[in-house]
Each structure stands twice: as structure tokens, then as C-alpha cells.
Amino acid sequence: MTEKKKEVLLQIKGLRIEGYSDDKWTEIVHGVDLTLHRGEVMGLIGESGAGKSTIGLAAMGFARDGCRISGGSVEFDGMELTTTPERDRRALRGSRIAYVAQSAAASFNPAHRLIDQHTETPTHYRIMKRMESQEDAMQLYERLRLPNPQEIGFRYPHQVSGGQLQRAMTAMAMACRPDLIIFDEPTTALDVTTQIEVLLAIRDIVEQFNTAAIYITHDLAVVAQMADTIKVLLKGNEVEESDTRSMLANPREDYTKSLWAVRSFQRDQKTRPTGDVAPVVSVQNVDAAYGKTKVLDNVSFDIHAGMTVAVVGESGSGKSTTARCITGLLPPTKGKVLFKGEELPASYKSRSKEQLRQAQMIYQMADTALNPKVRICDIIGRPAQFYSGLKGGELKSRVDELLDMIELEPSKYYYRYPTELSGGQKQRIGIARALAANPTFIICDEVTSALDQLVAEGILKLLDRLQKELNLAYMFITHDLATVRSIADEVVVMKQGQVVEQGPKDEMFTPPHHPYTDLLLSSVPEMDPDWLSRVVDERGVDNIGEAADTSA
């Protein structure tokens, strides 16, 4: 490995990329250099807007629509990609440089079977015959530890789970045995337990074929497992680069240090009020179903005033469904929801305006949860008007007050549209909209998972301050245990529609755990380059994503 590493495969020099927006070209990558040797894995990290994906695609001589390479050189194995005709560059893509996208579920074409998509590039460029490529696909599926490797390729993407799709996409990238693979946040959309399977599969196959890779992510702990060297990017500029171990042990630049230090936010854990106080929300033995499929089974937990209950679990565990039962969007088939000791009607349709006002929601995707055609003042003003009947000047001062609460200057933001705001600001507007109803209880559904870590921390601090000021109760749905650690008072762990464990946070984070909780906790990547190997040793390759038989 050491000898081979010396040969330079990809040499990027002074790369400049421009993006087209507001009728003009603006530079988004300002002269980045990158050298990658054969068989080497480089991690590119940074927040959104750092230009990671753009640089990754430029390494294939590819620019997204509305982007163009405006300067510098990209030399791949002796070929200058910026001047090569598109036809020849295209022939490289898929065969010698492959790409693995963030969301395999969205990046596989829903209209074709996996194997047909897998064999497309090899057969199009006559590298392999169809049957040959199909055989090879099955072998790759097996190496990537996909279940039923002989059969899984003949399914359509919607018939395969997210983690399996991500591995199938890695297999597809391997179809022509490329020299270089660009991994663009391949595990960001996955649960921790699935992520660990995919990480291991990717690491093993890249090693087996001695493929060079650029691994793009915003998650330092992940990149620590995968990369030989790490390059840190900020707003289209390189911050620093060095090998993984020294980067982790000894970051030079302040920005890198600040990335290392995120999640410093930690607030004191509150305990339940003593005595006989009715909880704000009490979910009691709730069952729910979508059609005939049962999705919740006997779910019970309480949320007290001024407290944050984090509901954690993998996707499909019933977290959001529980929220839908509480808000009445999905009437439970069994059990009931109490609000301050009073039973709520099952469906929101039969709840009073006052009952509706008390419970509000903040959503994961602020982008889609805010109407892009409506001004901020109306987005926030509408619920204030609907629930409190405010009008005219009163309404305006209420909206101003709400904007103040979320730390956005009223005079600047009052008349703006959501599209003019950043992701974090949009999420703040989502919070203000929930507050406008003057609720006592707010459901936060993965509110920080679409945000960069620093921005997410700002949102968490804001939510915490608002909770103290207004004595709000939060139900905090998340799959991110670091968030739980920083803001929760109590934790409810869900799996397959059931509550497997619940209790105060400090108890949940100290052993002994329920085996499933233990699995979740130990699957969160750590900032230690040897973490993945250690977990593999502990759990074995085949059970990497499954709970240990005995609880710790």
C-alpha cells in the first residue's frame, strides 16, 4: 500500500468554480489545491456552503447546472479535465471515476431495477457484457454484505431499505472498478445503526480494490474512521490539511478547533415537579395504525411543564407517528392522550380552538414547512390572529415581539419572504410561528437535523432560553444522541412502535442500558480513528448493526 500510494492520481491546482444566481456569476470556490494518490482516501469536511460537493464533482470534470469551472486545473491520471472535450470526460465518469450520492433513495431511478442501473455504465461503454456485469454485481452485493445478493438486484429501489440502497449504490460505483470514487455524504441520511454497517462496507471494499476516494462529510467522527488525510474547507477556501491522526490530535487553525469543539452546549437537567401535578401531556397506552399496518403498540409517557422529553429511535420506530397521535392528525386506535389531566378528543377535528392552541409543532424541513409565497409577517401573524384574535397595530406589535424572541430584528425581517433567509433563520421563523399561538407544549420534530452543527447549536440555545422564559414543555423527536445529551431532561427510546426504555437523561446515559439503547449509544461514531475497528472487534462483522445478545 505504501509503495502504490506514491503515484499521484488526482492533482487539483487553484480550482475556481462560479455559481450563477441573481443574474450574475459569483465565485463559490476560490482556488483550492488537492493532491490524491492511488489508493488513498481523503476526507473533505466543512459546513454547508463550504464547496465540498462542488469540489468533489469537479474532480470528475463535472459541474452542476448553474455552476462552471472558471479557473485552475484538474488533472486526473495525466489527463487535464478542464480542457478535455465533454465526450471524453463523460467516458471517464462511471468507469474510472465514480460517484456515490448522499441519498441513495433519491439517487436511484425509481423506474428501474437496481441491477439494470448497476449494469448501465459497464454495458454502455462495452467494458463488460450484460451477463458478466450482472454476475459481478451479485458478487459485489455479497462483498458488501447485502442480504440475498443473488436476488436483491432484481428489486426496485422502493423495495429496498435506505442502508441497503446506500450499499447497492457503492456496489454500482464499483461496477467498472474505478480508480477514484467520490463519496458525497453517503451516510448522513441514515440511522446510526445503519450508518455503521455502511461505513464498514465502504471501508472494506475501498481497501480490497485499493480504490482512491474522496470522502465528503460534515461529520468529523465519520471522516476519522474513513480517511487517511483530512482537508478542512470553509466557504470555498481551504483551511488546513493533514493526515487524520495529527488533524484530530492537533488541529492548527481556529476554525478547525471550533469544529472540534461543537456540542459544547449543555444545560442542567431538570427533574419532575414533586407532588401530585398533572403532566402537560400524558400519552396513555396508545396504539395506532396506518391502514391495517400497526405502527404504535402500547406507547405511554408523560411530559411535564417546563421540561424536555427527547424521543429517540431509528426511522420507522414510531417517533413522528406518536407526535401525530398527540396532535390528533392520526387518531389512535386504542388508548388516550391527556392534556393537563383532561382527555383530548382523538381527532383534531373535534378539538376546540383552545385545545389546538396549546400544542404546536416545529418541523424538520423549515424549507418546506414555510410557504415560500407568504411574507414573514403573515407567516407569524396568521396564527396570532387566528388564536388570539389580534388585529392591526396589536397584531404588528405581537409579530415584532415574536421576532425579538427569536433574535431576528423585526425592522429587517418583517416584510421578507422565507426564500431570502438562511436555513437557521428559517427554522427560527418556524419557532416563532409555533410561539405565536402562545402554546404550553411544542413538538420539535428533528428540528436541527437539517442544519450545520454551529447553526443547530444556536437553535438549541434559543429553544432552551424560550423554555425557561415561557415554561414550555417540549417533546423533542430526534435520532441524534448528541442533541439528546445537550438538551433533554428525560429520554424515551422507541423501537418498532414500542417504548423500550424511558427515564431521566443521566440514568439513560449511564449503564446498565437496555440492549437496544446500548446499541444506539455505542453506534454513535467517536472522534477516534480506531473506533470503527474496535466496534467491529466487539460485535463481529455480521452483527455490526444488531443489538448484542446480552445487555451490558
Partner: protein, 318 residues
């Protein structure tokens, strides 16, 4: 697949209910036509006896509701009654005319649908180029011009000046199939020009709408050439909206062609309908309207089912 059958049965049942409602509306509208039917048919010179005899034959003395159910009962069994004017069975009058209309519609559709989809794919591929603009302007001009105008222009250039095709689409029983195609080419072409723009633009829009999808970017970074990205990766996911627009246009080819038939003196159902309205031959008017309604319903049903069949999520369950 059981689900698809389920949907078809449900939609057919719904279609039948819709048709029933429409039959009431059609019957009511004909009832509402002003003036006396018998008088309108026989003209000003009719004697009182003649009028009375015609009223008795048509059953005009009965209350509307009785006549409605008589008519509906017959229509369900395929008997639409007899012409009020000539007393021949309505089925005999409509049958050959409807067959002619169907033939012309199929003729136009066989040209228009593949042409529209091919053009749509090409303009999507060459979007924002000169070709795209020219194709858009040309088809939009065609769709914006009145049909009779298009028809006359075609007659002028392809018939009067050059003599390539006959200007009048008269049919006779001893024609060969090729003769038939030749003689009806101009009306078919007129209809093609009228419907192509809509379908082409929907194909273009549906494809372009998908080009920002991650799986399209994936196909591009997999090294697929642009035409393959569009034909193999975008088009299969764009069928649903395209099929619905095709169905609407096919329905139009059957029900909206009165003017084209008139210009080319083609013996289709549209002309019969117009003649019958002026002559107050209400059994024929009712039957034609009912057939048109059924055409719309069946074509939309077909579009829905085909849209479902093009969606792998619905075709292959988890």
C-alpha cells in the same frame, strides 16, 4: 396487480354514475330548448292534425320523467329510439358516422401522439436552443389558429395549388385502404396540428421538471449521454402527466372535430350532431352527447390505469 383491478372496477362504477348524471343533464337541456318540437320539425306549414300525429308518435304528451326513463331504459340496452325527423333507428344513423369519426381520430392520433412525444423529448434535450423556440412557436401557432382556418390553408397549399391531396374527404364503399388514407389525409393533418402542441409541451415540461432530481444527476455522473439520460431516466418517470394530456387530446379528436368535418365535408358524427340540433332531432342529439360523455369517461379511465401501470411503486409492492 389485484389493486389495479380493484381501481378499474371502482372507476368503472364511478364512470357509470357520472354517465347517469350526464344523461339527466343532457335530457334536461334538450327539454329546455325553446319552442315546440313538432312545430320545429314540420315547419310553419304543418296542419294541426300532422302536428298532433307527430306529437303522439314522439310521445310528447307524456310527462318528462316518464319519457326520460323510457329513453334511459332503451339507451342502456343500446336502443336510442328513432329519429324524430326520418323515423329511422338512431343506431343506424349514428353507427356508420361514429365509425368514420373514430377512424379519423385514430388516424390523427397515430400520427400526433408519437410525433408529439418525440418532439417533446427532442425539445427537452435541446431546451433553450433555437430548435426549442422554433418548435414551440410553430406548434403554438398551430394550436392558436382556428381549425377551419388551418383546414383551408392546408387545402390551399396541399390541394388547390399542388394537387397532392383531395380537398374533399368524401368516402365511398369501393375505396382501398390506401385510397382512404390518402383522401382523409388533410382532415387528419389538420387535427394533428391542433393537438400536437399541447402534448408536446406537456412532454417537455414533465421531463424538464425531473431534470433537477438526484437520480438524473446520478445518471449524468455515471457517464450517460444526454439523450440516454432523458429517454431512459427522465421519460419513464414522466409518463403520468403526459398520459393524462394525451387522453384529453384523444377525447378532443373524437368530440371536438365538427369544424374539421365541415370544412372537408367528412361524414362524421360532429356534422350529424349539428344537423340534428338545427332540425330538432332530439333522439340523435341525446345519443351523440351520451356517446361523447362516455368517450371522455373511458379515455380518462384508461389514462388513470396507464398512469398507475407506469409507476413501479404501485406495480411492485414492497
Amino acid at each position: 396487480m389485484g389493486d389495479v383491478l380493484d381501481i378499474i372496477v371502482k372507476r368503472l362504477a364511478l364512470g357509470a354514475v357520472t354517465l347517469l348524471v350526464i344523461s339527466i343533464i343532457i335530457f334536461g337541456m334538450v327539454e329546455l330548448l325553446p319552442g315546440d318540437v313538432a312545430q320545429a320539425i314540420l315547419g310553419q306549414g304543418a296542419t294541426a292534425e300532422n302536428l298532433a300525429a307527430l306529437r303522439a308518435r314522439l310521445g310528447l304528451g307524456d310527462p318528462a320523467i316518464v319519457r326520460y326513463f323510457d329513453w334511459l331504459g332503451g339507451a342502456v340496452l343500446g336502443d336510442f329510439g328513432r329519429s324524430a325527423v326520418t323515423d329511422t333507428p338512431v343506431g343506424d344513423l349514428i353507427g356508420p358516422r361514429f365509425a368514420n369519426t373514430l377512424f379519423l381520430a385514430c388516424y390523427a392520433a397515430v400520427i400526433a401522439v408519437p410525433l408529439a412525444i418525440t418532439l417533446g423529448v427532442i425539445v427537452a434535450l435541446l431546451r433553450n436552443t433555437i430548435f426549442d423556440r422554433v418548435a414551440n412557436v410553430a406548434t403554438l401557432t398551430a394550436i392558436s389558429s382556428p381549425e377551419f382556418f388551418l383546414g383551408y390553408i392546408l387545402i390551399l397549399y396541399l390541394s388547390v395549388k399542388t394537387g397532392y391531396f383531395p380537398a374533399i374527404a368524401k368516402l365511398s364503399s369501393d375505396m382501398t385502404f390506401l385510397d382512404l388514407l390518402h383522401r382523409t389525409f388533410l382532415p387528419a393533418l389538420t387535427m394533428v396540428l391542433v393537438v400536437v402542441a399541447h402534448m408536446m409541451r406537456m412532454t417537455r415540461a414533465a421531463i424538464i421538471n425531473l431534470l433537477a432530481s438526484p437520480y438524473i444527476e446520478m445518471a449524468r455522473v455515471k457517464g450517460m449521454p444526454a439523450w440516454k439520460v432523458i429517454v431512459k431516466h427522465a421519460l419513464p418517470n414522466a409518463w403520468a402527466p403526459i398520459i393524462n394530456v394525451i387522453a384529453l387530446n384523444l377525447a378532443y379528436l373524437i368530440t371536438g372535430v365538427v369544424l374539421v368535418e365541415f370544412v372537408f365535408v367528412y361524414p362524421g358524427i360532429g356534422q350529424l350532431l349539428v344537423d340534428s340540433v338545427t332540425k330538432r332531432d332530439f333522439p340523435i342529439v341525446q345519443a351523440c352527447c351520451l356517446i361523447f360523455a362516455a368517450t371522455f369517461i373511458l379515455l380518462n379511465l384508461a389514462a388513470d390505469v396507464l398512469s398507475i401501470l407506469t409507476n413501479p411503486r404501485l406495480r411492485h409492492k414492497k
